[in-house]
């Protein structure tokens, strides 16, 4: 196993490398672990490890109407974003992959623009536009803005699925009597469905975790969880946020594992 891609250098000679890599991995994972543990602390002081355990911060999270409302808004927006972004992104990826259109490069650049344009600029621009069309503080406005940010992820994921798929199959299906749509749904989609589902999960997380644009365009009854968290963190450090963070971490783990499972296929 170790011969497949390593050099004839013994593991012992590499110890320093493993130690260094391990430390960096610790640096990456420790904050999350600490937060999860602290969220079960009974004290409102920051002690690690906690001396006493309790679920009071979870009670405080679930018991608070404000937090609950914000969570519901975020879930709603994320679900709708995932649906819309997956539909639009899959359709766009299919068209890009067909490569019969001119300007494919420009289309690609446009579809993935939100990945490289500074989010703060998107936030300010969206707020500015929404102010004129009355979409600030609305679910629709949030879904539209988040869809634009999630779209590139769906497009890239589905495109990579389509690239590893044998397009001859769709051609055969069409020659055998299936129209283009029908061939896509009967033959292509079942084989790239894992990419599509992964894309949808990525779109969900992207929307659920989105902070900057939501800061600008959400508020009042449509305040998202991340916006409320951001404001809470600006004021003071409330351990309730540890409980919320733990929930978010668990959500990420669940969605990532799902994407991994689907990504592996069958």
């Amino acid at each position: 196993m170790s011969m497949e891609n390593s050099l004839p250098i013994s593991h012992r000679q590499r110890l320093w490398l493993y130690a260094l890599g391990g430390l960096v991995m610790l640096f990456l994972i420790a904050p999350s672990v600490i937060i999860v543990i602290m969220s079960f602390s009974a004290s409102s002081l920051l002690q690690f490890p906690p001396r006493e355990w309790s679920l009071r911060w979870y009670e405080s999270y679930f018991g608070s109407l404000e937090w609950r409302d914000a969570t519901i808004v975020s879930v709603k927006v994320a679900v709708m974003t995932a649906i819309v972004a997956t539909l639009l992104g899959t359709a766009a990826a299919y068209a890009v992959n067909a490569r019969t259109l001119r300007l494919t490069g420009a289309i690609n650049a446009l579809l993935t623009a939100s990945l490289i344009i500074p989010v703060i600029l998107i936030g300010i621009g969206t707020f500015f536009l929404y102010a004129r069309v009355g979409l600030n503080n609305t679910l629709t406005g949030l879904v539209i803005a988040h869809t634009v940010q999630a779209l590139p992820l769906v497009v890239l994921t589905v495109l990579s699925g389509l690239r590893s798929y044998d397009m001859n199959q769709e051609m055969v299906a069409r020659s055998l009597g299936a129209g283009r749509f029908s061939a896509f749904f009967q033959v292509t989609m079942p084989q790239i469905r894992f990419s599509i589902v992964s894309g949808a999960l990525f779109a969900f997380i992207t929307s659920f975790d989105e902070v900057v644009v939501s800061l600008f365009i959400s508020g009042g009854e449509t305040t998202t969880l991340t916006r409320r968290m951001f404001n809470a963190l600006r004021d003071q450090i409330d351990p309730t946020i540890a409980a919320i963070s733990t929930c978010l971490i668990v959500l990420s783990i669940v969605l990532l594992s799902a994407a991994q499972l689907f990504g592996r296929g069958r």
Binding site: N5, S6, L7, I9, Q13, R14, L17, L20, G21, V24, M25, F27, L28, P31, S32, I34, I35, L45, L46, L88, A91, A95, T100, L101, I107, L110, L111, T112, A113, S114, L115, I117, P118, V119, I120, L121, G123, I124, G125, F128, L129, I144, V148, P152, V155, L159, F208, D209, V211, V212, F230, L233, I237, I241, S245, L248, I249, S252, I253, L256
Partner: protein, 303 residues
Amino acid sequence: MRSARLHDGAGATLNADALRADARRESFGLLALLSPGLLLVFAVIIVPIGWLFWLSLFDEAGQLSAANYARFFEQASYIKTFVTTFKVAFTVTGACIVLGYPLAYMLSQLPRRAAGVCLIFVILPFWTSVLVRTYAWLVILQRKGLVNTWLMDLGVIAQPLSLANNFAGVVIGMTHIMLPFLVLPLYASMKTIDVDCLRAGMNLGASPAATFRQIFLPLSLPGLASGVVIVFVLCLGFFVTPALMGGGKVIMWAMRMEQTTSLYSNWGAGAALGVVLLAVTLALLGLFQWLLGARATGVWSQR
């Protein structure tokens, strides 16, 4: 063959109109699939940014002027913001290289299964909310945070160190957030380095260190470059961590934009900041693409 000759002359255009119409139909179909996505991007990104760009060309009196841009060179507070932003971006990028290169190298040398397990340590934070991670660092680094509590309990220090709400806090928090953006493309490019090439180097008598320096390191540089560019560009426009961990002392570009527009409602000035930020970002990415012929945005398709 004979039938072709019969059609000669007319043959060149036989059914050409019907075929062109069919080609148009197909193009329209594909365009119809693309258009909802493109339309959204156009409406939410291109239009507002174009609008902001337009705004940035007028001063507060509504006159066409370069005042919004000129002030970047004149007002000390702007200059300070730029200096801070680049200082943070360089420091964070440097820290990411120092931490990320060994990790990516280790991952690339591990057997597949072990590398898969270790990759979780990179991918999980990548997909954890930036807010959650920033909160975690606040808890760890603040005045009465974990590090200070420990160090004081152990008697190492008498007074708490100021780790959060300053430059150091911003750099630590942002390094944590940016690290996966460097490690993932670097790891992917290291995986493609041909091991036989390295074995050959060692068989030819080069020491492991020399093989690394003369063969592996140069081959991994394009991957490193793409990670560095993406990290640097993201740092320039980063908002959440400096806003929460800067303690009001570390004002970065994005925060400045937020303050100018939200606090002072000076849209022209905020827009001008955004335009310059976008220009710098695109210039860096363009330069990278021109130099290496690859897209730095590949990281998003790898995670």
